[in-house]
């Protein structure tokens, strides 16, 4: 019997019986993705777009209730542009740049994310997670129609998993009863409570925080500006120790109250009690509807390694952080893009399986960065000792009048993509005078081009050899792996940002760029031997 664990709002992939359920022989799939959330869907879309067949199994028939993740960062939009749904997200999302921090009823600090311009996508949009999942499924359907090898099976719950040397056998429950299938590779995108992690008996190490936070998403036509507003010790009755107000599309506002420890969840979620808090915050006479309420606690922890033989973990199943900083879904999408091209090369036999260990190394490096930032924010927001509280309050008291204390205020450091500094896929960083922002391991920053387009859109999804005022072959193939040249000149930049980000003081540059748009290596001029070696390193065929 398959019981729903939660209600779904959008039935995106209703259950449909497939022939495989009656097949006498188990069917072997190259890649099975467990979980149809944003991370699983992004992984599947990326793989199928590269031509590697992928089957997504989800234990429900669509998107769960509630807005959940609402802040999507530039890197996520850049990746979704490549996957074909970035524009849909941007069109629907609320772009915001300004954040204000209050202590009591006084504003102590504000920030503006807009000055760093010259990129197609904004620093952040707010968009409810169900919209993101819907756009990703729309893209899956479009790819299916195009004949791409991608399939989603709703109400297919993985109930058991057995490793058999070179493959995995999965037990799957459906409304029509169980069946089994085989997979060469399994990508577990099945969330924080990952059943797959459980079947494999793998641990999840880190800190669990005890503070409870109440989310109240309300629908109202309010004149508040599109800003992230955060209060320490909010002046409104019953708001707890901190509060957040942030706009989403469709006149929905996210309100978040820090309730503290040892609370009665059911009592706090009673409509009257939630409404009393929201009334106090919004003031008399503001009309609104409660759209979704939820109480959450959080953890900052990760698996020791994101690969266990043929099973790979991505997103919340592999790592979890507090929501401060929007580092959950955003880092999960980066996992997906890091994994997809590597798994594609391995499935095709063009790269060794050990390339997948670099997925674990690179993304656990990212998870560590996120966990560190998120743990620090949490320690500031919910001081755990008298000394921690003393200094937190001292920072807030000084910040109102003294600028020096403002950078110490931590209401969440917003998600930025990590640089894979010093990790195994990096080749030579041999561009004298090159900017640090584009060093080996860094994600390529966008830049506006004179033709009205943007650089990232020109990079495509394979390996790219970006030459700036330098000669190189148009195309190069190394043991089956192709590299396409993108030839530009410094004068192709719409302004100086292209040259500032990619040349620095060098008159020319040659970049080898990975399919996930991270820099693999860079030089001042093309050298075939060095380039082939860097490509070999970036695909795990040669040690650095």
């Amino acid at each position: 019997m398959l019981e729903a664990r939660y209600d779904t709002t959008l039935k995106l992939y209703p259950y449909a019986r497939v022939a495989e359920q009656e097949a006498r022989e188990r069917v072997r799939h190259p890649v099975v993705v467990v979980g149809g959330g944003p991370v699983g869907l992004a992984t599947a879309l990326d793989l199928a777009g590269r031509g590697t067949p992928v089957l997504v199994l989800d234990d429900h028939d669509g998107v769960g209730v509630g807005s959940r993740a609402i802040c999507f960062a530039r890197r996520t939009l850049d990746i979704c542009d490549r996957l074909g749904c970035g524009q849909r997200m941007l069109d629907k999302g609320v772009v915001w740049n300004v954040g204000r921090v209050f202590h009591g009823d006084g504003e102590i600090f504000s920030f503006d994310l807009s000055p760093e311009g010259g990129q197609k996508n904004p620093a952040f949009i707010n968009l409810q997670q169900p919209h993101v999942e819907r756009y990703l499924v729309e893209r899956v359907r479009e790819e299916e129609a195009r004949g791409a090898p991608i399939e989603i099976r709703g109400c297919n719950r993985v109930s058991g998993l057995e490793e058999r040397g070179d493959h995995v056998v999965l037990d799957v429950d459906t409304p029509d009863g169980p069946y089994r299938l085989e997979a060469d590779w399994v990508v577990a995108c099945d969330g924080a409570r990952s059943p797959v992690r459980g079947f494999m008996g793998l641990g999840f190490e880190g800190r669990v925080f005890e503070d409870n936070f109440l989310i109240a998403d309300v629908r109202m036509a309010a004149p508040f500006p599109t800003e992230r507003r955060f209060w320490f010790e909010p002046p409104f009755e019953g708001a707890g120790q901190s509060a957040l107000l942030h706009k989403q599309p469709d006149d929905i506002w996210r309100i978040d109250f820090q309730l503290g420890r040892n609370i009665d969840r059911a009592a706090e979620l009673a409509t009257d009690k939630v409404r009393a808090r929201v009334d106090a915050m919004l003031g008399e006479g503001v009309e609104y509807e409660l759209e979704w309420t939820s109480i959450y606690t959080f953890q900052c922890r990760r698996m020791q390694t994101f690969r266990s033989g043929p099973v790979l973990f991505a997103g919340d199943s592999a790592h979890q952080v507090s929501p401060f900083g929007a580092r959950g879904a955003n880092s999960g999408i980066q996992d997906a893009e890091n994994l997809a091209w590597k798994l594609d090369l391995v499935v095709r036999g063009l790269a060794p399986q050990t390339l997948l260990d670099s997925y674990s190394a690179e993304r656990s490096h990212g998870a560590d960065e996120n966990i560190l930032a998120s743990t620090r924010a949490t320690d500031f927001l919910t001081p755990k000792s008298p000394a921690s509280r003393l200094f937190r309050d001292a920072v807030l008291a000084l910040a109102k009048t003294h600028p020096f204390a403002r950078p110490l205020i931590n209401s969440g450091r917003l998600s930025v993509p990590c640089v894979y500094d010093g990790l195994s896929l990096n080749g030579p960083d041999a561009l004298a005078g090159g900017p640090t922002v584009t060093r080996a391991g860094a994600p390529c920053p966008d830049a506006p081009l004179a033709d009205g387009g943007y650089l990232l859109a020109r990079l495509g999804g394979g390996f790219t050899l970006l030459t700036i005022d330098a000669e190189a072959p148009e195309r190069l193939v190394d043991e089956g792996i192709g590299v396409e040249r993108l030839a530009l000149s410094a004068s192709d930049g719409a302004d100086t940002s292209f040259a500032e980000r990619y040349l620095g003081t060098s008159p020319s540059a040659v970049y080898l760029i990975r399919p996930d748009q991270h820099v693999a290596a860079r030089w001042a001029a093309f050298d075939e031997t060095s380039m082939r070696r860097a490509l070999s390193i970036a695909t795990g065929r040669t040690g650095a």
Binding site: L390, F391, D393, A394, V395, A397, L398, F404, A405
Partner: protein, 90 residues
């Protein structure tokens, strides 16, 4: 860096950069100590702790150099450990 008369700069002497000053450095120490205590006058214990915390932040920002701040934290922490150790052996 200091400027010479001709506008050129004097390079700092080679060798390790100067670290945390632990030699006497405060002019009229008694006067300073008096001012420190006066700043706390009339405050209860909690308010005194809060003032100290603000003072620490103000001074740390003035110093700025993370290496020196790290040394200072270690010196302050070690002094507390010494004091605790002495008390327990009395």
């Amino acid at each position: 860096m200091n400027a010479n008369d001709d506008g050129s700069t004097i390079e700092p002497a080679p060798g390790p950069a100067p670290g945390l000053t632990l030699e006497p450095n405060i002019d009229d120490g008694d006067g300073f100590y008096d001012e420190l205590l006066k700043a706390h006058e009339g405050l209860d214990e909690a308010a005194s702790h809060a003032l100290n915390a603000r003072l620490v932040l103000v001074l740390c920002n003035h110093v700025g150099d993370r290496r020196i701040l790290r040394e200072a934290l270690a010196v302050a922490r070690a002094a507390a450990t010494d004091a605790t150790a002495r008390r327990s052996t009395d």
